[in-house]
Amino acid sequence: MLSEMFEKRKLLSYKYDHALELLDDNQDIIQLLISKEVINQNGSYVEIDETFLDFFEQILEVNEVINTAYINDNFEEVKHNILYYLQENSESRKNSYLKAVKSTLKKIGRITIRNIVDLKRNVENTFKTEPNFKVKLTKLENQKKKLTDIKNLIQQTELLITEDERTFFATALDEELRSISTNLQLQLRESRHNLIETQKQIVEFINQIKSQSEFIEKLRQIKYLKDQFEIRAKTNINALLLEANALAFEKKPSYPLQLSLEGLQGDAVYESILKINRKVKTKIKPFVLIADSISEEYLEVETEEEIHINMDEVRNNFAASGNHLFDFIQQYQFPREVTYEERVTVYCQMISMYENDLEITEKYSRHDTIEYAMVHPKRSRL
């Protein structure tokens, strides 16, 4: 139960009922602890007695509060013991003082390092976790003060070993003491280096916080003025911005350059053109005019027959006939009924079409009102 209470010592309250639960409802133990003043009861809460708490913390080396007084006490103790040692004549009592000095010296080294580690952790914790700027700053300032205290103590201790009590360290011819003091000096040196580093860190943190909190404050004021629409009248923002010519204030420029026509001919560009073409899809769809449907009438097949007079055939037959052309045509059996006028037209057509195949004579003959030339097939051809 004590160990759990110790773990929760940071919490402000530890309920009596919780303690009871942990001890399987055994009230006697709690009462015993209370009567021995190991724990105090405060209404429905219990807490570990301060003296015991300190004791536990020191035994377990878990204290978070840097206790420079503690080092100081030890330091004084060493001093006193040394003094006793030098004044004492009895060998055995001298030895007991020596022993005390040795153990305290060991302790000082350990505590100093322990304190520095704690300090460093505290500084970092404060910087990272403390939400309130003002508290953070004050805490860091305090830690800086503690750091100076530790530094002074280290200096004093070093002086003690090397200067002030040189006689003691020279006279007390003890091998162990010598090794302890050397060890202590090494530890102190290491501590000093650590302290310098920590100090640097604290200063840096303080500066950061100061500039940050100043900035936050400034930002708050400016934002307030801006929201009240007073910023332009009450601050120098106009003048300031008149001076500020950074490009960041301007619209993002674009530089429209004409495309190189020669470049567009290249094959590489073709892909890009296709790509852009795909992108340029307008929503306007071209309206296609649709023609009326074709009426049934147009689809009906109409045939018109015309009997054609094959002139070639007429000519061939004429060549074989031996008659003269006009007479031949008058008597020719055409595939259809052919009138007299038409036969005369065919006669004329024959002459104009096959002029080279015919022999047109100078003799004329008459039929009704028409005077016609006597035409024979060409002898040479036949």
């Binding site: 940050q212 900035f215 801006k226 009450k234 601050t235 120098n236 300031l240 490009l247 204030f249």
Partner: protein, 191 residues
């Protein structure tokens, strides 16, 4: 001394109103920063850019361009500065130590909105810049279209959707810091 061969690349970035930051997660940008910072290069580039009416400016771990005479009118600059003030104010109230080098995830901010009424109120106020309705869209717009697009932050980790604040954020802080509030006005502002 000749201008470094990356001058075109540098100009390309800076002329868009962007910044070249030393803590960019883009290796190329970091390289460009180093090149500008290299011995003598800054002066060379300054001369070079001044010939085309630009001024290469050096900030705390970042570079940017300005002009001898700004093309933006005062109204536009005021508008921009107001937007920046709102944005910086929002992120500073999300995290008081929000500054160059900080990392943040939009999802974390969204979670904090639920428990922080002031933050929610401020995000509502940012709607006038983003014109988005939902908190998520609003925040996204502010981060991607404003912080990142203007070069004050960048997406560092795509898997976690984690953003990193660049050193150009110092520019905003410096700008706000350089606004001078007369003492008698300071006294009028409530705590």
């Amino acid at each position: 001394m000749n201008a470094p061969k990356q001058t075109a690349e540098i100009f390309d970035i800076l002329s868009k109103g962007q910044f070249i930051c030393s803590n960019s997660s883009n290796e190329r940008i970091r390289k460009l920063f180093d090149i500008i910072a290299e011995n003598g290069n800054f002066e060379t580039l300054q001369d070079y850019f001044s010939a085309i009416n630009f001024v290469l400016e050096e900030g705390d771990e970042y570079y940017y361009l300005s002009r001898f005479e700004s093309k933006a009118d005062l109204e536009r600059k005021i508008e921009t500065a107001f937007r920046w003030i709102d944005i910086v104010d929002f992120f500073k109230s999300y995290d008081t130590s929000f500054t160059s080098g900080s990392r943040f995830q939009p999802s974390d901010i969204l979670v904090k909105l639920n428990v922080d009424a002031v933050l929610k109120d401020k995000l509502d106020g940012l709607k006038r810049w983003s014109k988005k309705e939902t908190y998520k869209e609003n925040l996204e717009h502010i981060i991607t279209k404003m912080l990142c697009a203007e070069g004050f932050a960048e997406l560092e980790n795509e898997i976690f959707n984690e953003y990193k604040v660049l050193s150009s954020f110092n520019y905003l802080e410096e700008l706000i810091n350089s606004i001078n509030i007369p003492e008698e006005v300071q006294d009028e502002i409530p705590e």
